[in-house]
């Protein structure tokens, strides 16, 4: 496999990197939606992050990335009863736009059915992405029914296939990362709401920054290993911070005052539903964990407010004020610096 571009070598795009880190620390956050132009390093960042995560234990030969500690939950438990647990990299699966439903959820193994008459389930991309990342570029162009299905599975953590006389159920827990360009059609609000965090990435306009991007990519092109070695230290630091944060996360306390603050903030900006509030607090907690704190502070909430709420504001067709601006205003009012 090609060496992936180092996460810490990505120039700028701090908000996107932070959102991805939060999602990696707290998978329950429900995925990240990245809005932005092409060529802003969206997929590079996701791939880099997946490569950064420590390898996970899987049952050898499992087509579902089965967790050795819970192998009974998987349909292949019987045949792999004696299989060893091995280490495997965290999967990062691309879902192409033209993918059919069969390809995504899995289907009857056609070859076997035709050739030997055996009815066997052929796992789809959801099984492949289990315990890893599922990346969908241009999610706004994906067929509606596929998006519904994906979000459904992402929320329940389980893929249930009942078709062509098959009935298969397998765990499918993954961090959903979608990207899209709002100029090419928007997502329905009820779908947007299901993504935990949302990020707006912009093409950098500063010449210096752009030159730096081109330089780094050029070097990576020509001497990938040397380049990766240069960033090894920074990468190791991120890995360590991630691991620590994951460990610390359950112990990070959220005081009642913080719960109230989150709720007041959501009210102030008019974010619909409880989901926003919950995501806000989870993200704040992950941020606190990443910063090595024992409890959530108001500034942690302030830091993630835009990420967690931007896509949940009720849209006023005739009001152009950006969501981010409205949130920043509310944050400034409620949380004095």
């Amino acid at each position: 496999m090609r060496t992936p571009f180092p996460f810490s070598a990505i120039v700028g795009q701090e908000e996107m990197k932070r959102a991805l880190l939060i999602a990696a620390i707290e998978p329950r956050i429900g995925g990240v939606m990245v809005f932005g132009d092409r060529g802003t390093g969206k997929s590079t960042a996701v791939r880099a992050l997946a490569a950064l995560l420590p390898p996970m234990k899987v049952v050898a030969g499992s087509r579902y990335n089965a967790d050795p500690r819970a192998r009974d939950n998987y349909p292949d438990a019987q045949e792999l009863r004696h299989a060893k647990a091995v280490e495997a990299p965290v999967p990062m699966v691309d879902l192409p736009l033209g993918a059919t439903e069969d390809r995504v959820v899995g289907s009857l193994d056609l070859e076997r059915a035709l050739a030997t008459g055996e009815k066997r389930f052929e796992p789809g991309l959801l099984a492949k992405a289990n315990r890893g990342f599922l990346y969908i570029d241009e999610v706004n162009l994906l067929e509606d029914h596929l998006v519904d299905l994906l979000l459904d599975v992402a929320a329940s953590g389980e893929n249930l296939v009942e078709r062509e006389g098959l009935s298969v159920r397998h765990p499918a827990r993954f961090i959903l990362v979608g990207s899209g360009n709002p100029e090419e059609g928007e997502l329905r609000p009820q779908l947007l709401d299901r993504f935990g965090l949302s990020v707006d990435v912009k093409t950098p306009t500063d010449l210096g920054e752009r030159v730096e991007i081109v330089r780094r990519c050029d070097r990576f092109d020509r001497e990938p290993d040397q380049f990766a070695a240069d960033y090894a230290e920074a990468e190791a630091a991120t890995v360590a911070a991630l691991a620590k944060a994951r460990e610390r996360l359950p112990k990070v306390g959220v005081a009642d005052a913080m719960l109230e603050l989150g709720s007041r903030l959501c009210q102030a900006v008019g974010a619909d539903g409880l989901r926003g509030e919950l995501t806000l607090l989870r993200a704040a907690r992950a941020t606190a964990a990443l910063a090595g704190k024992k409890s959530v502070h108001p500034h942690h909430i302030a830091e993630v407010a835009t990420l967690a709420l931007r896509h949940r504001l009720r849209r006023n067709v005739l009001d152009d004020t950006g969501s981010a601006v409205r949130i920043t205003r509310a944050v400034d009012e409620l949380i004095p610096r």
Partner: protein
Amino acid sequence: MNAADLDIFGQMGYETSASMGRANGPLNQGEFHEKTDFCDLWDADSARWQLALLAIDLLVAAPQGLGGILLRARSGPVRDAWEAALVQALRCRRLQASADGDALDGGLDLTATLASGRPVRRDGLLADAAGGALVVPMAERLSPGVAARLAAAADAGGPALILFDEGDGDEGVTAALAGRLAMHVDLGAVRLPMADLLAEHPIGHSGDGRDPAALSCGGEKLDPGLRRDDRGGSLVDDDAAATLTATALALGIEVVTAPLQALRVARAHARVNGRTMLTSADLEAAAALVLGPRATRIPGNDAPPPPDEPPPPPPETDDGDDDREPDHDDLNAQTEILLEAAQTALPPGLLEALAAGQVRRQPTRGSGAGAKLRSQSHGRPAGVRAGTPGRGARLALIDTIKAAAPWQRLRQADPTGRLSIRRDDLRIRRYVARTQTTTVFAVDASGSAAIARLAEAKGAVELLLAQAYVKRSEVALVVFRGEAAEVLLPPTRSLARAKRSLAELAGGGGTPLAAGIDLAGAVAVREAARGRTPLVVVLTDGRANVDAAGRDPQEAALVSARGFAAAGLKSVFIDCGKRPRPEAAAIAHAMAARYVALPRLDARAVVAAVEAMG
């Protein structure tokens, strides 16, 4: 961003039929009109031709990382000649127009499998073409799924892709795919010397040792930077990234991957010429192949610059590891040279568009091409029918087996108990995709009443778009005033785009009603061809008073209205004159439109009228 995006959506694709022919001719670039001297003409053509051949050389030298070549040209002798040169240099496979995902990735060979009773796989084209090139004709018609697969293959270092983009106007290769191919070449307007084409002697390809230019004239006058040459030029390796990035910004190219691809092309060019360090000649070639075709503006052009002026280049040293930024003047001088090189490859039509002060829009890509196939492969399942899988249709396995079951005894099923399935048993699944509508507003922006009318029309478009989330419908806006009609907002579902377009809308002038109806009809027909259901909403007082062809305006409007009706399009005619007049009703009748008089136009009433049709 790629050159296809630059074609003015409204101007090329949606022009009324009267002026359509003009845009397609090879001589639609202003620069060629003025030049009568043939050798000069060859010069310009020859430069582009050499550039196209150079692209092949570079691809051969560095198949990885460049992605491939996007060649914009209709099928014809010039493209054939180029393809012949390509085939000489690289092993090529061709993607058939009917290909689906299976053709790319391989899959089960159904007939052979059924015949032999064991799985027989066949290789996909991507595997077949590995190490060579995959040629994709009619790339603008690729279905989104195949385009996405090709883009993924390009990312994963698959075969080089050669896309032939034959689209004009609003059609083009999806931006996501086009952006992955480093080199873009336009041979659309290029003529080769007839004598050479007639003689059928291989048109010179610099890669195989023949005379680099078999063209009979013009070869000598080429910009030396664009030809394969040993001219070293100054070494520029350290500044190459900065120079190319600055050049890209000056040409209005936003995507950061463009200068990066340019740098890769420059390195390939250096390698072809046996150098390890970059020289100015390498950068010039890269500018012409990568940056020029992606340009969205021309630096130093007198036309008013677009509002998004790039920041003045402050080569500020950030925390980067090496800080050898070139000093200002040096960088600018190099950028100037590159800009000149890039000018040879500007997308056709860019100059004219800038001169006309038109705002460029990216065509909405996505589910456009191939949308009609949906009923076979996408959407909700809707039963099964007999048929052969392939070409987007998928096998319904259980139903196939069910169909085969009753015949097993007659077919003397073999003792192993294996099913005997024949071609007649095959069943495929059917799907229905929800019908998606496109509402095309044709708004009269003439005269004094325009301001109020326009404001309400804008409101109606925005309200409809707000609902479009749920219904997946799209909205387009055609405006007619003064002398002509134009597509202000191509079919879109995007609120962001709609707002920007609507802000540009101004009123005043005469009422070219015929032109408005024609254009709205053309847009609607095109939408129907995309597999959508168009609904045209005309907002006018019906008082036509201008006709570009000099006919009686009212009469012309009636003629257009009858033509509209003949196309079988569904429409609503909203009469927003202060006093509804019989002329308006007559036009509505001729259009076979539902006639609604709304003397007090307001956005919600318009939406209600539209929804009554849905």
